[in-house]
Subunit: 266 residues, 2 copies
């Protein structure tokens, strides 16, 4: 495919590189800061343009890979008539496809992975979540997506929002728990390295087991003695105390409440 990109940040870089490496052609790159567009254009063998009007509609796909806040601003600058034969898509997990509804061929193309500057992504194992109400657009995007990744999913706007929330729970919040554990260990002159094998083991288990089945710890054992002991220990750290109590309650509710409910209903 022949593709132009608006934006020159992490997403534009990673996705652009993956597209180029999969044999697609990058036509033009526009970015608010021209220098960044120029730098990226050199990497992607494309052409940087200093004005958004310099983008040519003689392409298959126009990718809007800018920050969530900037998407509607970019959309306002694009003539709907000019782009009516081109698939116009953004790459955001939290912005609805409705923002693009003025374009006859619109879609969302959401690579579900955290992007870190300078770290090249292994795109083949990045889930690509595609949203479009237009079947022809969807078919065409799927053709592009499978050249990049083995994990291509078709989802609705509502589903994409749910995936985003689930990602925050499973990924951002888990990582924050690692931060809190690290803080606690450091305060007691212990190394975070002690925790790493356990964390790795838990994640490896996800390959073969349901997370519900592989839950361990005092909460799922209903081990009140250990729980009370831990809470007592955390008494001086109100924030950790609160998180410990709420998460433990949630674990116990999730693992013990269903059978009790069933008994009640008898």
């Amino acid at each position: 495919m022949n593709i132009s990109i608006i934006g020159a940040g992490n997403m534009a870089n990673q996705l652009g590189l993956a597209l180029l490496q999969s044999g697609h052609k990058i036509d033009k790159i526009y970015n608010r800061t021209y220098l960044s567009a120029k730098t990226l254009a050199e990497v992607l063998n494309g052409q940087a343009v200093s004005d958004i009007k310099g983008l040519s509609p003689k392409i298959d796909i126009l990718i809007i890979a800018v920050s969530d806040e900037a998407i509607s601003e970019i959309v306002a600058q694009l003539s709907k008539k000019k782009w009516e034969d081109v698939i116009v898509m953004h790459t955001s997990g939290s912005i609805s496809s409705a923002v693009l509804e003025g374009f006859s061929l619109n879609a969302v193309f959401y690579p579900f992975q955290s992007m870190t500057a300078g770290q090249e992504l292994e795109f083949r194992s990045v889930p690509l979540l595609l949203t479009s109400k237009n079947e022809t657009v969807l078919t065409k995007l799927k053709q592009v997506a499978v050249t990049l990744s083995d994990l291509v999913y078709e989802i609705s706007d509502d589903q994409r929002k749910v995936v985003h929330i689930a990602g925050v729970l499973a990924n951002n919040f888990s990582n924050h728990l690692f931060v809190l554990a690290n803080d606690l260990l450091e305060q007691h002159e212990l190394s975070f390295d002690i925790l790493k094998p356990l964390i790795r083991h838990t994640v490896e288990k996800l390959d073969t087991m349901d997370p519900l089945a592989s839950q361990t710890g005092p909460g799922v054992r209903g081990d009140a003695k250990v729980i009370i002991d831990h809470l007592k220990q955390l008494d001086q750290v109100p924030e950790l105390y609160e998180i410990y109590a709420i998460m433990t309650k949630s674990i116990m509710d999730r693992h013990f409440s269903t059978p009790l409910k069933v008994q009640k209903e008898k």
Copy 2:
């Protein structure tokens, strides 16, 4: 070393097997249920005894690998005089070494990994946490520990409790977040497989980055719009709403509050 084991559960099985494979000799095994002792004894080339008094003190180490609740009960059944030349140790993360203080040579030998029945552990990458007030005991246990694992740590009773709490935070609570994310995805007919690459990526980053530096998501970006939108979406699930709010507040406090405090103190 010549070693006897009290208990025939997961810990006794996994640790016993690791010891045997590292060239140690298993003398006798006692368990409340004789049949389990017999089964384990066959695996470990040891001898099952039906009475705790049948254990011989002509060994180097006696391992008490029973549930936390049963430890003191076992200790009460062991004559202090009989075991005065033997290292008597338990394997629990949450029980203090004080429970063994009647024995002249006592210690705690805590393999810090979750044990799943039937799944053999790769002991070389299991952190072994050793506690003893006796330097000679510690030296001897370290000799044993390095034959089993590359990760041997000497810690105090207080530190072991902290490690246990950190493990609950980083491991049990993270896994529960995977459960909650899985629930949410299932409710919207989405596969948990979508999340796995992101989770794996986050854990892989721990090898090269501090968890604090690798935090991503709306909380650390201070992206109020996305956070409010997610909370609105979770309005119907009070438990998830609460966890989302508390974890996000904790992330923002952790990442934004320190510099503010520093400014105030100026």
